[in-house]
Assembly symmetry: C2
Homo-oligomer: 212 residues x 2
Amino acid sequence: MSEMVLVTFDWVPEIPRGYVRDLRVRWALEEANLPYRIETVPFKSRNAEHFSSQPFGQVPWLRDGEISLFESGAIMLHVAERSEILMPQHAEERAGVINWLFAALNSVEMATLPYSIFKFNGDEEQTAGRQALDAFLQSRLQHMEAYLSRRTWLVDTFSIADILMADVLRLVARFDGLAEYPLCRAYVERATTRPAFAKVHADQLAHFAAAD
Amino acid sequence: MSEMVLVTFDWVPEIPRGYVRDLRVRWALEEANLPYRIETVPFKSRNAEHFSSQPFGQVPWLRDGEISLFESGAIMLHVAERSEILMPQHAEERAGVINWLFAALNSVEMATLPYSIFKFNGDEEQTAGRQALDAFLQSRLQHMEAYLSRRTWLVDTFSIADILMADVLRLVARFDGLAEYPLCRAYVERATTRPAFAKVHADQLAHFAAAD
């Protein structure tokens, strides 16, 4: 089996460390026991080669032979094609995992991202749009809370969908945004106390610290 | 080939008509020449059965035999498994389509959604968070503009990724948010002048009008 190459930044400032999205990919690769190595691109000067691999100038991307994947959702599906560990094989359960993979990135992260940006900017102004965005987030979290009342993981066993959902909710928890959602908090806790998460979180911190 | 069932609301208010997300699915099914029929659930009272099929209380979802899909990205992948028309078969191009499918729903829609919500609410207050969200959107649109300077569609031929990206950008165009992005506007125009779009747009308007 060929070794995959995960590309991330050579360095990032303190604040995003532990949250850079290569973590999602490292996590999936560790859970799936797939071999990979890390390569880097400059954080401070993003050149045309970077944009040819990642059209938005971000990280990560994953190379596997001739295949190059630059969206974390696409990478998760690829990892699930390479290993059965993170994706059930039965058609109905597989459909469930794919539903929840997209739910993490669209239904949920689309609601959590504005919250994080307001918090990062220390912005507490309650304008009409801000209130609508907040109502949208609370609605999503309420539905997640209801869904998680009956489940340990999103679909039966721990999957690629849980990696993305836990990583999305973790950033809300960072700003105490899950205070009223104990089941969401417990879910994030369950996911992030897995040995693979602890390893890749430490790996990412060490990677960026080594560049200081 | 069994007929798929697309579930949407029985009625919605005027404003979202022409933009309800069942349109994305109708569009893909028409482009792929796959048979389907429409079923409805009440817009005004969303019951437990609705939430068991769509955990966020939204529409659409798609049933195909025992499989039920409630995220538009998951539905697109399923349509692409049922028909080769909207997904190239070569591995590298297929990876490209899957990258762009996720890019539409995560990298791009995550930036366009707050913009739409501010506009829907007539909110023009330039708070720090609002400015950061706007800078995020402008950055994404600039990268899309650069990418589209070299292409007719996101990956070679028209695909499921174009359906989602065009539908996402269409809502920005509705509020004149693509004024400075002529290539994005031309892309939306190319996509939405396809006969399949015209048909399903008319179908959705007629569906909701019939319930008034």
